[in-house]
Assembly symmetry: C3
Homo-oligomer: 316 residues x 3
């Protein structure tokens, strides 16, 4: 694997999932794999799970880690080509990426959508500039449009808990007071379409995701109908794709409740976290036995370890 | 030791002090004790000594460290149960603690008093939520009401410098322009009552600490009288406990001066730092030979090493 | 070497450059040199290259690293002696430095010019207080007036790329919209005067640097004339020294263009970064084959490794 920015970078999905399970069984099984190498983790946005789980994964592999929060520790980067840099931005991404690429062996980048320009966001300007100019393997720590480390952990979790070979997995929109990225939902849809699951997506009309990621998935606008016979309910809020980045609905009728979960086939509840209790989902569901959110987050470490191992063994 | 949040968690105080002295004699004597394990240090408030000394202690034990400043790197946590999270707070402490607990083997938490609700502060809502939901051993890096790593270092320092078996130790309030927590003073009183010292507390009327921590200690409202025959003068400002979190006095007459130190039995001067020069204490005292503030701070490393060793050997 | 704050601390410049080249050839050649020791990196200002390259250098030497951004993670420090600390500043540098010195074996300090007081800046108040009170070897990570780690990397780069024994090196001012420190320019001039180069400095009248650093160097106010026969063009903006910290000119006529580079003897272009594209220098030059900015930044790691090795082998 040359980089890890979406499922498209994965040549053998089963093998990657198996590698994560292998590390889950014994996280310290390859303690010297990354010896003498350095992972740079560069954040343009806040992070809890991604930062700590990826750092932990690196530690487990003997890979050194340098974490930098660009916003509080550095300065703003220019991404436009050909611009006269007389404004607020002190450095161009061409130099920043080129330099950081020389100080690290692998680079993790978190750069969310700006929501000011759909085309730029969907071109993954920041992530792709780091790939182009750093010249080293890059791992997405959540980009403008995708969150593949999350999706791999999600798939590992579904494989771990599924009770039938091809489970029904429902990706459900739920209400939220803020404009949130589409990345987790896009990425989950993209990964599930490659996995051995029956994927259904449910959301209010107007919240259709980019079909590049969802094509082939069944979309049902009736949440209760979508939940029928489901084995996994994967919940996430996202803002609208068209028109871009809008908060079209906060309809509390889309909140996940115990009675809705009752419509499923004893489905597990999944969410990538952070989750707003009693807005996205009722306490009763989140704290219930069918909630997988905590073990799902634990799998972030092993997903990251599998990805880092693949990058370490392919590129060095 | 299952956790380290107050002296109540310590089963054998002498042994813990001896362990700190053992590490002071040779900080690198157990370089592999923490191998393969990870200490998470989570700060909800600024820190200099606690952060660096605990990180250094971990390094000395071969324990990996992940440091996170929640305010600048993460987001606000909700602590109330049952709340509808439609406001500013993006994540509930139930999930945050549950997740972090899976990425670390030991967790250090700094969470100061809010001063908005005495009952919540004294219930140690943040610290106790991390203990409850992380399910791993937790070390207080200063909580709303206590600072046990500081108190252990203080006790080690007193043991190191004392010239008589049972020294007279005076905890003295001194003036400060801001509303400060009661944690260091509460904790020092609690620890000294278990130590082989004669503890006297002196402060202006109205600055009585919670008797839970001070009961049995002699309180003298006349600072000069309190200083007589003292062997150690331990200085700290705190805000009032009743009414809660008030700045009742900034009386410069309570500042520590050379002439007041002259009333003692050649007492050492101690302060946990940071200290405001010429507000809390005159330069002459702080820079004098009887000032222990710098070696006292050095002992923070060995206190932390003793605590981490105890947690590592008891829980794993 | 007892400390590294300017070229004056370097006893054998050739040896230091050779040591950097030695590490460039094999960065991991001395992986245990720093074992059991800790480098503290304390930043009072933002940093990208210096922070990551110094941290990487430490990793390469097996030296543990603790990074602290004082502004976002700590509090303001008082530097005046004898002051009554009743204002915003919570701790005096005497205590902060004294404490940190006990937690680290080597200390790196970044503290830029304040531009409020020329005398204080040029006395290097913060850096020198850390040297005085920490009592351990201190490395400047860019101080108010100098940036020696940058200059060493610059010299290594010139040695690496020079085509004649004594190349002509031109330090050229270029326009910038903000008031920038004089440190990089001061330091470059100071180092080049000790190196085997023919140094010319060019800038608009009024931008004369402190002669303490430039004495002996040729100053030419005609940029095009200065460029004639040059082998290296080293570009940097700085604010005026007298009157102190002023933005006297933003004259775009001083920007580095391809046609100006054409006046040289096929000179290489150098800049310490970050650089404002099309303000300081045209894209065409920065992206051209003669631009060394990326390999110049790479050499920061090896310069830092050479300095850290020297401090480790001299002081312990």
């Amino acid at each position: 694997m040359k980089q890890f920015t979406s499922i498209i970078d994965v040549s053998d999905l089963n093998q990657l999932v198996e590698s994560a399970v292998y590390f889950k069984n014994d996280p310290l099984v390859e303690p010297d794999l990354g010896k003498g190498k350095t992972l740079g983790l560069i954040f343009f946005n806040p992070s809890l799970r991604t930062r700590l789980s990826t750092q932990k994964a690196a530690l487990n592999l003997g890979l050194s880690c340098m974490v930098m929060n660009f916003v509080s520790e550095g300065w703003q980067l220019e991404t436009e080509e050909g611009v006269i840099m007389s404004g607020e931005k002190a450095e161009h991404i061409v130099e920043a990426a080129g330099v950081i690429g020389q100080y690290c062996d692998i680079l993790g980048i978190r750069a969310f959508a700006s929501f000011t320009d759909q085309e730029k966001d969907y071109k993954e300007e920041v992530l792709n500039s780091f790939i182009k100019y750093s010249k080293i393997p890059v791992v997405s720590l959540e980009s403008a449009t995708l969150h593949p480390l999350q999706s791999l952990a999600d798939l590992v979790t579904i494989e771990e808990y599924k009770k039938k070979e091809k489970p029904k997995v429902v990706l459900s929109w739920a209400p939220h007071p803020r404009i949130l990225p589409q990345s987790v939902a896009n990425s989950f849809a993209q990964w599930m379409r490659q996995a051995n699951v029956d994927l259904v997506i449910t959301h209010p009309p107007g919240y259709e995701l980019n079909t590049k990621f969802t094509k082939g998935a069944k979309i049902i606008y009736d949440q209760e109908k979508a939940f029928e016979q489901a084995n996994f309910i994967y919940v996430k809020n996202w803002s609208s794709y068209e028109p871009y980045g809008q908060l079209l609905s906060q309809d509390p009728g889309w909140k996940i409740t115990a009675s809705k979960m009752g419509l499923t086939n004893n489905a597990y509840f999944m969410h990538c976290l952070p989750v707003r209790r009693n807005v996205i989902v009722d306490d009763e569901v989140l704290d219930g036995e069918a909630s997988l959110v905590i073990p799902q987050a634990a799998n972030r470490v092993y997903a990251a370890q599998a990805v880092l191992k693949s990058l370490l063994t392919t590129n060095f």
